[in-house]
């Protein structure tokens, strides 16, 4: 079963993706992750303005079966959260890289991005 690993994103071992635009990172969970979770029924996102460190648990996604922590791949300040996915958690399953994204971070240490997994690295990890 192959999952999508878009070429324009960076990834974490814990299955978050990051899209960089200027000093802003948009974060969500990967197609592989949503497939493993299935039936996402609840998403809890961080407060806007919260300062986060790379690797810090900042959100929770719950499927029928389990609750999973979501880690911020980068350090910075939460500047936006996706209310649509809070209202309709199933967007995580149907559009993990678009309407189902989670939050945006203003980068405080942009160099961190270089240490994130490349699409090729992540594809290898999940066998995509």
């Amino acid at each position: 079963m192959s999952s999508q690993v878009p070429a324009d994103l960076r990834y974490t071992k814990s299955h978050e993706w990051v899209r960089i635009a200027g000093d802003t990172a948009t974060v969500g969970i990967t197609d592989h992750a949503q497939h493993e979770l299935t039936d996402v029924v609840f998403v809890e996102l961080p407060a806007i303005g919260r300062k986060v460190k790379a690797g810090e648990a900042v959100a929770v996604v719950e499927s029928v079966k389990t609750a999973s922590d979501i880690y911020s791949p980068v350090s910075g300040e939460i500047i936006a959260v996706n209310d649509a996915v809070v209202q309709d958690p199933a967007l995580t399953n149907s559009a993990p890289y678009a309407a189902g994204h989670f939050f945006q971070v203003r980068l405080s240490a942009p160099a961190e991005v270089d240490s994130l997994l490349t699409p090729a690295d992540y594809a290898k990890q999940v066998g995509a």
């Binding site: 299935t38 039936d39 029928v64 609750a67």
Partner: protein, 377 residues
């Protein structure tokens, strides 16, 4: 310790089932998705691997007396071919296991016990037999390894069950065909020269059947059932949906609603305790609880606001104080709301009582509701 595998393990792998550890067994938690499988059982048909469950045969002229001394329900109420739900309790009223007892012949009983309790139950029953006046008249067999089982559940199952066991029953309840079995009845059929038992029972709140057969032919039965139920849209169902289905209808799961510190009276299962049949293990303690009341009682609840799904172990609050813990909790696929069961003081366990469930330090509004939480429209 390596995990135990059921005779259907390779069938699950072929179907793409996601395998997890459950009580020492490697079992499928889901094939497509829990919600999809759950709704399939509510609307059409599903088949479950329940080979991990234990089967015990108690036979002989002393079987009835032994079982009535050991179990809470009254096996004398069973005609040949009838089954009943029952508990096995300690002297202090705690639950050793909850089980189904079928009277498959005048002096022969089949007990279906929980997978996680097979070793405990077998030791418990053997000790009871040794101490019983009926011991010389009882033959005991733990048939758990020799027998396997599948559950076939859902509103459309009765339309194809007769394809799996042709003609009238050969033992147990005397019926012209399997679909004529009444709820809780069991009958025997022949399949390729082997005897299989078919009972109209289940753990989902839907109509359905459970089939107990030699482990060697279980995969053939599984495959034939998927073929026979194809036009009824049958799907294989994992443990995830098994849990959401039984939670919606408030069936207890051993280790969650029941354990050796919890009695059937506290669990709300007093209907299955027969005080008028004579003495049995735990009778005095259970009668005391029934007469003088209990300190904790099982209650069902439903979330009253959008929240994360309640999970086992979450704290239950009422009036600002912690009053209990969630025993079972999940997102109900039928109701699209968080639901669960937990133990609270009897004064709280009243439908309509406002409670709160604490999720990661935050409390969400919920309400005690009447069991079952989900009822078919």
């Amino acid at each position: 310790m390596s995990l135990k595998l059921t005779p259907l393990h390779s069938a699950h792998q072929k179907l793409g089932g996601k395998l997890i550890e459950f009580g020492g067994w490697e079992m499928p938690v889901q094939y497509s998705s829990i919600v999809d499988e759950h709704l399939c059982v509510r609307r059409a048909a599903g088949i479950f691997d329940i080979c991990h469950m234990g089967e015990v045969l108690v036979t002989g002229p002393g079987a009835e007396g032994l079982l009535n001394e050991t179990l809470t329900n009254d096996v004398r109420r069973l005609a040949v071919g009838d089954g009943q739900y029952s508990q096995m309790c300690t002297e202090s009223g705690g639950t050793v296991d909850d089980l189904y007892v079928y009277r498959i012949a005048p002096m022969e009983y089949l007990l279906i016990i929980n997978a996680s309790r097979i070793d405990v139950d077998v030791a418990w029953l053997q000790e009871r037999i040794c101490g019983s006046p009926h011991r010389s008249g009882v033959i005991f067999e733990d048939a758990s390894a020799r027998l396997g089982a599948v559950a076939i559940q859902g509103p459309r199952v009765a339309s194809f069950i007769d394809l799996l066991c042709a003609g009238p029953s050969l033992a147990g309840a005397a019926v012209d065909r399997a679909s004529s079995l009444k709820k809780n009845q069991i009958g025997a059929w022949d399949r390729g020269g082997q005897r299989i038992w078919v009972a109209r029972t289940g753990y989902t709140g839907e109509d359905g059947f459970e089939v107990v057969a030699p482990a060697s032919i279980i995969e053939e039965i599984w495959t034939s059932t998927l073929a026979a139920g194809h036009s009824a849209c049958i799907q294989p169902i994992g443990l995830g949906a098994r849990d959401t289905l039984r939670t919606e209808v408030c069936y207890p799961l051993y280790g969650h609603e029941l354990d050796e510190n919890t009695s059937p009276i506290e669990a709300g299962l007093g209907f299955f305790v027969s005080f008028d049949k004579g003495d049995f293990v735990g009778r005095a303690a259970l009668l005391d609880q029934k007469t003088n009341g209990v300190k904790k009682k099982s209650a069902a609840f439903k979330m009253a606001e959008k929240s994360a799904p309640p999970r086992p172990g979450y704290a239950i609050f009422a009036g600002g104080e912690k009053v209990g813990d969630v025993a079972s909790g999940t997102q109900s696929p039928s109701l699209s709301a968080g639901i669960g069961m937990g133990y609270v003081p009897p004064a709280i366990a009243v439908p309509g009582t406002k409670i709160e469930i604490e999720v990661r330090g935050r409390r969400f509004a919920a309400e005690i509701v009447k069991k079952p939480i989900y009822r078919k429209a």
